[in-house]
Amino acid sequence: MEICREGEALQISGLDPFLAELLRQIPASANTEGAPEAEARLFTEPSIEKEICAEWKSYVEPGLRRLFRNATETVAADLEQLNGNEKSLHNRTLKIPFEHADAWLNALNQARLVIATKYEFSDEELNDHDRSPIGSRRDLGLFQINFYGFLQEFILRETQAA
């Protein structure tokens, strides 16, 4: 896999089917449905004061929900470039328009937080970047977090260089 900036887009090329599938999983991984702990992590309380929290839920949270949903929808639309069967996913290239960088950063962060909350990874596990091989669904979750983190680092580097 290669990742670079090409003009007004960020380009991920030479994708194998496994990594392409992990990319396609970003919107689904960010979904908190049926995971109340993950939902609570994405929508944390802003204060210990009940009055502030009640106002927040009514007036601020809907806006945050829209923001997060828009980010995952933008990412899902970009990922349509990877639609196809496994064979056709060999050596594919994904182009992310530069103006979608913030949506990608947000959606990747949502996905990382939701996965980490679902599997209750410890600090040690989250800092163990060389862990391998993938032997369980939980291991795959940790790999996803690290892979998505790697993408975030790249997008951050490119946006700051721009």
Binding site: L42, F43, T44, E45, P46, S47, I48, I52, V60, G63, L64, L67, L105, N106, N109, Q110, R112, L113, A116, D123, L126, N127, I145, G149, Q152, E153, L156, R157, T159, Q160
Partner: protein, 109 residues
């Protein structure tokens, strides 16, 4: 002065009226002026570079200052990013939640 006051009417007669009831203010002026602080708490999932970028964007801090706060969050578990009036503090916390950081607003005591 008593609760009932004598009032001289136009035709020379007098009458009485109830003095207005004073309501007690439950929050003192000092309490209303109390500053609020924006606190960011540690989250092992958020990348250090990401947190630094968010501090730069939300507060307009230069990279060095943003990194100092990020390291304080990482090492001490929390950092006070800003202090001032409640409305502005709420705005900053809203922005930080938009970036999925763990942030709260607290009264300065």
């Amino acid at each position: 002065m008593s609760a009932v006051s004598a009032v001289q009417l136009e035709h020379g007669s007098t009458s009485t009226v109830e003095a207005p009831v004073r309501e007690t203010e439950t929050r003192s002026e000092a309490e209303l002026d109390l500053p609020w602080q924006v606190v960011v708490h540690n989250d092992p999932v958020n990348l250090m570079t990401y947190v630094t970028m968010v501090f730069q964007r939300v507060f307009g801090y230069p990279r060095e200052k943003a990194e100092q706060h990020m390291l304080e969050v990482h090492q001490k578990g929390r950092s006070i990013l800003w202090c001032g009036v409640r409305e502005r503090a709420e705005f900053y916390v809203q922005q930080l939640h938009g970036y999925l950081l763990l942030a709260t607003l607290e009264k300065v005591v």
